[in-house]
Assembly symmetry: C2
Homo-oligomer: 694 residues x 2
Amino acid sequence: MDGPLTTRKAATRDLRALFDPNTVAIVGASATIGKWGNWLARNALRGKDHRRIFLVNRTSAEILGEPVYPTLADVPETPELVVITIGSAGFEQAVEDALAAGARAIVGITAALGELGGAPLETQRRLAGRVREAGAVLVGPNCLGVADTATGLNLAFGDFTTPGPLAIVSQSGNLALELVRVSARRGLGISRFVSLGNQADLDATEMIDSLTHHEPTRVIAAYVEDFGDGREFVRAALRARSAGKPVVLLTVGSSRSAARAARSHTGALVSASVAVDAACHAGGILRAATAQEVVDLALGLLLPKLPRGRRVGVVGDGGGHVALAADLLSGQGLELPALSQPLAERIARTLPPNAATANPVDLAGGGEQDFFNYSNAVKALLDCDEVDSVVLTGYFGGYSEDDPQLARIERDVARAMAAAVEESNRPLIVQSIYPDAPTLDPLRAAHVPIYDDIQSAARVLARLVGHSSHEPSGVPDLGPVKAGAPVVPGYFATRRLLESAGLAFPEAREVTDSAAARRAAAAIGYPVALKALGSEHKSDRGGVRLGVASEAELDEALADMSSRLHPPSFSIERVAPTGGGVELLVGVRRDHSFGPILVVGAGGLYAELAGDVAVALAPVTEDEAAALIRSLRIAPRLLGGRGSTPLDVGSASRAAVALANLAVSRPDIAEVEINPLLVTPKGAIALDARIVSA
Amino acid sequence: MDGPLTTRKAATRDLRALFDPNTVAIVGASATIGKWGNWLARNALRGKDHRRIFLVNRTSAEILGEPVYPTLADVPETPELVVITIGSAGFEQAVEDALAAGARAIVGITAALGELGGAPLETQRRLAGRVREAGAVLVGPNCLGVADTATGLNLAFGDFTTPGPLAIVSQSGNLALELVRVSARRGLGISRFVSLGNQADLDATEMIDSLTHHEPTRVIAAYVEDFGDGREFVRAALRARSAGKPVVLLTVGSSRSAARAARSHTGALVSASVAVDAACHAGGILRAATAQEVVDLALGLLLPKLPRGRRVGVVGDGGGHVALAADLLSGQGLELPALSQPLAERIARTLPPNAATANPVDLAGGGEQDFFNYSNAVKALLDCDEVDSVVLTGYFGGYSEDDPQLARIERDVARAMAAAVEESNRPLIVQSIYPDAPTLDPLRAAHVPIYDDIQSAARVLARLVGHSSHEPSGVPDLGPVKAGAPVVPGYFATRRLLESAGLAFPEAREVTDSAAARRAAAAIGYPVALKALGSEHKSDRGGVRLGVASEAELDEALADMSSRLHPPSFSIERVAPTGGGVELLVGVRRDHSFGPILVVGAGGLYAELAGDVAVALAPVTEDEAAALIRSLRIAPRLLGGRGSTPLDVGSASRAAVALANLAVSRPDIAEVEINPLLVTPKGAIALDARIVSA
């Protein structure tokens, strides 16, 4: 197999020349305001104290008061880093010139290369090869640039100059601009930024690997469209996570029109959403839906202590705010336990008689009576063993906004809360109507995230609970590919292949006429099931009849199906004992980037309706398969809730393992699915199956 | 029946004295900064040009440079509006004094009244009665005040002074502060504000009715915990909607802990979430989950033209942004149709060769080449018949931020878009990384909503499509209550009651011993179903056996269930022909505020799992019931998709109508549920049922 799934060794090239070069040349620097070459020159020159900047332009004599060199060859020093921002026609030559001048890193801003497929894509590949041969690294082309706040490097369009713990790795320049803008609004600074563009050479995987060793980076925000070898991407994310730098991922492609756009954008093939989910699960990657959510999650991940359970204590001054918080937190699967009487009474002691202290805690005007009632209630919850995290919601932060004379006391209360956070093993998360209030600075300094929207706070908290309690499953090895006969289409061929892989089906015989059908039914024993073959949606079309109890009924059903559906053949099957069983769906789909993905879900009639699925990178162990099944919403039905008989989850798990192993070893299988897999108290039996060839 | 469901006539009291008084007295005015009496006095005095303000305080001689009167009786003019902001002990007397002084409106800021139930609640009721007798109106107590930007009235804590089209009606003061703060950030001004507090007299229903005739108000934002007579609330919302003033509702109580908080807050009983959903459906009310979402929706509702269908055209400069928009819009159930070739080519004409123009439209750098490419693409989509709305996403608004010299052209492009919007029958919605950019002012002036978050934009657009295409069903009359014998518990009594209401059950006989069971089975004919009675979760506990085919099997099953479950009796039933049928759940729950609520959903094993339900205020017509069923995700299974036989939705609808009618006429039924209702090609039959008495 050649392609993105070919295993690639994690490249650990030295990127010093990219992020901390001693010399930089900007090819295409411009004096014209509004041009990229002007932006880049201006931003680069702001780093003059750190390094020497050389502007290159064939026609200008001076730009921004700096001398200009007509070509790279004229630059008096070896440019460690060369930024190319000229028309696409000259790009290839400019890369060659940069290598000839001794560049160790090249940033290709130039766009419109590789967007159209064909020759430009070839050009990119060839150029990337040339760059690697020369021991250099190429960023882009079609990118926004790079920045490093620790080294004072800003070779990008946009303001990536405020230092902080967030690294931004993005295939889209404009989404990077949105990420940095939203971060700035929330007071979150940047460690490094790289706009990957078409990823001709440097890609998201290598960049994340590099950030794993980058001290100032604490969280990595990645926008990726083309994951290349997706499993290597996941391994890099795992390494980063182990180094204490979790990856928050934004990607696209869950809609067909998005794929249309992404294809046209960078020539990338977008991985389907479900495969990304499996990858995130395996790599402990937090997936976000928008730039805002990326920043929301990053702020939460920077908490010094993450929540170790689902129990939340809520504090606010106002019944509306705390009730709303309770609703939204519960809606995210978090719990608000009623506080013990001693604790509730202790909190109540300094509050008005109408305060609620059972959780949520409503100060009921007590916040205005004595502002330290806020910090006292927060501290009481942070210090108790009855909750795992604390949420402060509502007006706090606003007293100083409405009356500047209250700024001092509000800040003192914030300081008291920050001190309580530092002494506690539990995190505090704040939602405030006034999230930007300077009086909240002590909380920000203690890495307490402050949201303007309680829904965002609730979502982040739930994600953090999942993040801290879920140990990523890691990336399973694909193992050797099995040589085998090509997949034969058809129901019985599929059954045989799956049976040989270890899956159980009810006894069945293929027949084409009434006499053979009668013989088969007699041999199996009435009642039997009758299926008309040759259609994928047999049961929808009335091509399945269960409980055929007699020869007469069999004849009637055969005649009916023959006249309506004209099937090439029929299957006569033993009726599975459905009573008390639960139908699952088990399938494997091969993803271009992430390889075979195992899907387990509620099956049968409700498979698509319920949307109750769990996914994993295949292959899986039996324990992992069982964990997937137990994570389904339908799980209580399988595990024996309400006094019902527990079903054979072990058999179902083994069936999933077998199916995954088959798909992993046979790259010619694009999709394989058992639906339903009937799970009974004693075993799991496949009632229908299909295979799609690659 | 006495209680909130007693029909109340829509009160249409004159609220002029509340929102445009000629004279105002503030009882409890204070010179101490940080006290409510100080805030209110300061805010009130800002309206001195509009009316005469009298400060009342027993101990101060002068406050804020104004004379102070020791009691209301000392005030030289009749105070049309009296604001009371003193301790709760003196509140009752202050109300009496206000009425004695001739007040037409009273605003009770004073809190801690009625929060504890019992006597204070009685006090409130008595006071409200006294106020009504005197022909006056009382706001609160326990509220933040009132404001009217057209009349220059601000008798509230907080900044409710920027005029605009949004009316805020809130039971929670602090959530009102959040609403006004978020509105201000988005450039949305306020028409009127009223903090309802405990709603002792003036409530949300009356306030909405009053706003229906308030010219400056175009959208009503309501935060309500206690709906009182919920159906009257819905009727008021319908009247407001008909007057072009839709209601956006924020409420709480979907979690148990929220209910705990809300109870302690205003002594209100919070209506369960599902009943609120039914109410919103009936009243064309848009329900929001947070203050942010209220404002998001309000901005959308102010669009001069609402979308008339689900088709969206997306424009942006950058593949990442447009792909993300496509994903999130599709995720909201909207469609991005591929544009026709002529239109796509027309848009492509002035764009770079790598631009995508199939929808989403990615200018691919064309925005920077010529900024009017933005407005041209937007206008082309606004003018075409291929989409119902247009979304602009990404960087636009940022050019001027990054380079002030580009402000003029960016504003010109915004102006061109605004002109295109005004000429078009379709709405434009904008997401911008720079939502506050002044260059976007022409769009704001054309009532184009601008969001900072593409997910918010997508959600609002989907809600607007639903709002403009969904004609609210209105509030059905409850009709006369039927006198009848009290509900008898038990399976067979329930069956008989429901059968008499018109529902069909399979033939069944109740038996207590083996001999009777054999006789019953023989009479019905094998195979039969056997149910052990006396437990609500029969099937979970192995108390249901289907397809009992012989006397021997019957004996064995009876012995097994008897030994395990010790049921008081058994039911022997005809086996329903399940093949090809679909199981629904049909139920009615009586809500304290909104009365009987019909619930229709996917039933059987998956009822709770799938969460696939539709709700309505009962009773319903057969058409309405059918519409509810057709709105389920499971609907394609019933309607005959993929060549399957259509099921008898008519019978299922009639069953829902019958169940709703029964529950409506019998207030002693708190809950009644059929699950499953088996819908077959020929009829709908109830396979199990339960009733809970009120």
